[in-house]
């Protein structure tokens, strides 16, 4: 396999973008990415989108997006793995270039979620759970993560305050991110007095409904060295793993085997251990998710995610910064775009262009993007190369 570098990243400010359609978002992020790369060549396009069908009545993005981007006839495909669709699109682009099938691969993640109301959006998201054994019986994602949160509190003594501290920290980071949907600062008290959604999960424990897109351009390290526009960032490890789609089929609802395995695979490929990673963007769809992912990746011991967060270890200036972008919680969660936007943030950090939220001496970063309640997971390890 050839060595791969990320030479372009593109996004826009996320939010309720009433004036922008699904195609507008994908095209805008892609054009921003190509402008950032200073390249006008795309050999293949992989599109991460969870549900254009339900949210917009629009499938067949593999045709629409190249067309509106000005790359008609270019090979393109849409990949889907629920909320991990974006990460999967980046992995697909990686394989295209690493295998020699293409030299320049664009990965774009997009979701336009506000074309439907809250109820329909919740229904759309719940299609990432097991329809026969979960959704049909009335449970959706806040409910599933509430079960995990309650079990975590019971087994490990994780507190309501510790869950709130995840949101407080991510909003503090998002406050420094000009592209974040909800950059406002949040106090522990505000999180703990927000509307109850599914006990113990409150509104401010949940990532929001967002319109947004993100794109990255991949090529070989050899090509990247010729372009010389940005410091070189390489993808040194990728791990993809799956698990049962239904939470009730897991042996232990406090373990996330897909995350553990994807992490091990990515680290093995990169020839590293978790101690070699400086920071990570993780999938904090709910506050409890960030805590459980930290534990599954081995950043902390099981049960220590909450205390580590409250101790400030995951803050921007902590021992292991997590979600410097603000995470899904503050930056927003347009599901198919999230995995690509995580790459955007890590590249920006490794280039040293993250402004006020720049992590000092960031050399190796990780992204962790998961689908559903942990039924699928894509992990990337990125490194700055001199």
């Amino acid at each position: 396999m050839r060595d791969i570098a990320i030479i372009g990243i593109g996004m826009m400010k996320w939010g309720e973008l009433w004036e922008k359609s699904l195609r507008d978002l994908a095209v805008e992020a892609s054009l921003n990415c190509l402008a950032d790369a200073g390249v006008d060549r795309v050999d293949t396009i992989s599109i991460g989108c969870m549900s254009g069908g339900i949210f917009n009545g629009q499938e067949h993005l593999a045709s629409m997006i190249p067309d509106y981007l000005g790359f008609k006839h270019t090979p393109a495909m849409r990949v889907e793995s629920a909320c991990a669709s974006g990460g999967l699109a980046v992995r697909t682009a990686f394989l295209e270039v690493a295998s020699g099938m293409a030299d320049y691969a664009l990965a774009v993640g997009v979701e336009k979620m506000t074309d439907v109301g809250g109820g329909e959006a919740t229904y759309g998201l719940a299609t990432a759970s097991d329809q026969d054994y979960e959704a049909f019986h009335g449970i959706n994602f806040p409910g599933l993560y509430a079960l995990m949160a309650r079990a975590h509190m019971t087994r490990y003594g994780t507190t309501r305050e510790q869950l709130a501290d995840v949101a407080v920290k991510n909003h503090r980071n998002g406050n420094l991110n000009p592209l974040a949907q909800f950059p406002s600062l949040m106090t522990r008290e505000q999180v703990m007095s927000s509307v109850m959604v599914a006990d113990p999960i409150r509104l401010m424990d949940c990532s929001p409904i967002t319109d947004g897109a993100a794109a990255v351009l991949l090529t070989t390290v050899e090509e990247a060295r010729k372009i010389k526009k940005h410091p070189i960032v390489v993808i040194s490890g990728i791990g993809l793993a799956t698990d049962t789609i239904a939470l009730c089929q897991r042996k232990d609802i406090l373990k996330l085997p897909a995350i553990e395995l994807a992490g091990q695979r990515a680290l093995k490929m990169a020839g590293k251990t978790i101690r070699d990673i400086n920071f990570a963007e993780v999938h904090d769809c709910f506050t409890i998710a960030e805590i459980m992912v930290m534990e599954a990746l081995g950043i902390v011991e099981p049960g220590q995610g909450g205390p580590a967060t409250s101790a400030g270890h995951t803050a921007l200036n902590g021992k292991f910064p997590i979600n410097p972008s603000g995470g899904l919680k503050s930056k927003g969660h347009p599901v198919g775009a999230t995995g690509v936007a995580q790459i955007y943030e890590v590249v920006s950090q490794l280039r040293g262009t993250s402004g006020k939220r720049q992590i000092a001496d960031a050399k190796v970063g990780m992204t962790q993007n998961m689908g559903g309640s942990g039924g699928s997971c894509v992990i990337h390890i990125l490194e700055a190369k001199s």
Binding site: E16, W18, E19, T114, G117, G118, V195, M196
Partner: protein, 349 residues
């Protein structure tokens, strides 16, 4: 020609239901509605109250303050989204009850919550054109919110009527401006009992865009600044939107405090900002400036600037004040009785 308001009058049903009572039935979080939307209770029409009866009472009160011969009124316009009949005018009922028929023009207006100020706009400009001496423009609703929908906490009932003319003014019209686009944020199809809405789409791209668009254009046209006004009234679908919008546009709380009725009245739809104007006329002093901006889904805003006159103080107490109608003889309903009053319980024929 100087035109404006000659008389104003209102009618508010005596029945109320509290946010807690509705939330209890649906298992909803009452404090979050009360805090988030600044809503406490809403008016409920009695079984024998509808847009026709509410408007007749409001217009009678307006005539008490106008002190004119009803036969001199050339037009009667009623704006509502709950006209009792789909086909058959409310305006004729009103004109007949007020003794104005048959030499009169009537029309029913519909533009979601903006229908009331539409009727006022046309009445004012017909008088200004010199076609007639006086015209009535009224906004009334017994508005609909589907059981369990967010709208059920606010959809309420009330009426405000204004006699427009060119003499004996209580408030002179300074200027108007209208701001419209085709924006489908809220609608009710033919034959449908309850409206549908676009959730959060009703906020920024709908209410905010049109209200701020109308305010900014009105200020520019009149060459005025937010601090020039003694009072402002914006359409009030809840207690939060108008306050938030006003503050964002540079107005201050004392300017909108008197006209903000929703927290204790609910959203009276077509009567919402007109009732706010009436409540403001109830306390304004002569020579003060008032900015009124409605909002109707679909979507658009009508902006009016009025300047009060000396005559306001002379006629104010000839009819009940809005706060008196709001505070006196209130009867609180339980959800069951409310459901019956609002015909939410269907009986076999």
């Amino acid at each position: 020609m100087d035109v404006g308001i000659v008389g104003y009058g209102t009618q508010i049903p005596r029945y109320r239901i509290k946010v807690e009572e509705i939330a209890k039935v649906w298992g909803a979080d009452a404090p979050s509605y009360k805090r988030g939307l600044n809503l406490n209770e809403k008016s409920v029409p009695a079984p024998d109250e509808d847009v026709a009866t509410l408007t007749v009472n409001a217009a009678r009160n307006a005539l008490l303050r106008a002190g004119i011969n009803p036969m001199e009124i050339g037009a009667v316009y009623v704006g509502s989204e709950s006209h009792p009949y789909a086909v058959k005018p409310t305006g004729t009922i009103l004109a007949e009850a007020l003794g104005i028929c048959p030499h009169v023009h009537t029309a029913d207006f519909e533009f979601a919550c903006k229908a009331g100020t539409e009727a006022m706009f046309v009445a004012l400009h017909l008088v200004k054109s010199g076609v007639m001496k006086y015209a009535i423009g009224a906004g009334s609703d017994t508005s609909q919110g589907a059981p369990g929908d967010a709208l059920e906490y606010s959809a309420s009932a009330g009426s405000a009527a204004f006699v427009m003319g060119a003499d004996n003014l209580v408030a002179e019209l300074v200027d108007t401006h209208c701001f419209m686009t085709d924006t489908p944020d809220f609608w009710r199809r033919e034959q449908a009992h309850y409206p549908e809405h676009g959730g959060r789409f009703t906020g920024e791209p709908a209410y905010w865009k049109h209200v701020s668009g109308a305010v900014n254009a009105m200020l520019k046209k009149a060459n005025m600044k937010p601090e020039d006004f003694n009072y402002i009234i914006f359409h009030q679908p809840n207690g939060k939107f108008p306050a938030q919008t006003a503050l964002k546009l540079g107005f201050k709380e004392p300017q909108f405090r008197h006209g903000l009725l929703t927290p204790v009245l609910g959203n009276t739809y077509s009567a919402s900002s007109p009732l706010g104007l009436a409540a403001t006329l109830d306390i304004a002093k002569p020579g003060e400036l008032i900015l009124l901006v409605s909002y109707g889904s679909g979507a658009g805003s009508d902006a009016f600037i009025f300047r009060t006159t000396d005559r306001l103080l002379k006629v104010r107490d000839l009819a009940p004040l809005v706060r008196k109608q709001l505070d006196e003889h209130k009867v609180y309903l339980e959800y069951g009785t409310y459901a019956k009053f609002r015909r939410k319980i269907l009986k076999p024929e």
